[in-house]
């Protein structure tokens, strides 16, 4: 059971990273191909930040992860929760809204760290851990 939860954790973190990449591409499309893509970027953004980010937390809760694996995950979840809220601050706090792409960089980098760490808890071939 724990083995499956940990595998789910690993896969869900990688799906989240994939979501961040797709979001970055949609932002690029909106900037360089047509501004209509902002709508896709916005609607998918809520799904990635509040939908896809929820699954690593759900799997982690049942994965009996060591304490030191939680720190980065919690930071990732906080940043993911904040991310879709930032553009809404453009009128009152434009400098805070401007942190939206900076936060995207952090989500990607920290997401990769969490994913690499998650591999240690999953047996081969998906992970690098010992069979549990």
């Amino acid at each position: 059971m724990v083995k499956w939860m940990r595998t789910g954790y690993l896969i869900s973190v990688w799906l989240f990273i994939l979501g961040v990449l797709v979001q970055a591409f949609l932002a690029g499309m909106a900037l360089f191909a047509g501004s209509l893509y902002w709508q896709d970027h916005t609607s998918l953004g809520w799904s990635v930040a509040h939908g896809l980010a929820f699954f690593p937390l759900l799997f982690a809760l049942f994965s009996r992860l060591p304490r030191n694996a939680w720190g980065m995950l919690i930071i990732l979840l906080i940043l993911a929760g904040v991310q879709p809220l930032l553009p809404g601050m453009r009128r009152d706090f434009p400098w805070a809204a401007a942190l939206h792409p900076v936060n995207a960089l952090l989500l990607f980098s920290i997401g990769l760290k969490v994913a690499r760490r998650a591999r240690d808890f999953v047996p081969k071939p998906l992970g690098t851990g010992e069979a549990s």
Binding site: F25, M29, L31, A33, P94, H100, A104, F108
Partner: protein
């Protein structure tokens, strides 16, 4: 001499990471404050790009191991590509749209290069043995 060169490499590598954060913040200001920041974003992007050949040169001069030189070269190439993408918007908008994705890659690679450099620089800046 090598110690100084390696320390300079480490400092410039982290300066580049810091520059990237400013660069992306400028893009955010252009999007959410005023579009007049776009030229600053473009100019600043070229300025921090000048650090790349310098970093590559220091990697050789500091006699870093081959993998470190390889990672520095890869970072330089990816960042060079980054500066070429936006002008493609009128001809190949799909390719130009890779600009933010490539930014994610650059921001993943740049701190990796800087962290690796710490192993070859003595304390207090690095974690390597005294040269």
């Amino acid at each position: 001499m090598i110690k100084l060169v390696r320390t300079a490499y480490l400092i410039i590598a982290w300066l580049f990471v810091f520059g990237l954060l400013i660069q992306v913040f400028l893009a955010g200001l252009s999007l959410f404050a005023t579009p007049s920041y776009w030229p600053t974003h473009a100019k600043f992007g070229y300025w921090i790009g000048f650090l790349m050949p310098f970093l590559f040169f220091l990697a050789f001069l500091g006699r870093f191991p081959r993998p470190t030189i390889g990672w520095t070269a890869l970072l330089s190439v990816i960042y060079f590509v980054q500066t070429l993408l936006p002008p493609l918007r009128s001809v190949l908008p799909l390719v130009a749209a890779l600009h933010p994705i490539n930014a994610l890659l650059v921001f993943w690679l740049a701190p990796t290069v800087a962290r690796r450099a710490r192993y070859f620089v003595p304390p207090p800046l690095g974690t390597g043995a005294a040269i």
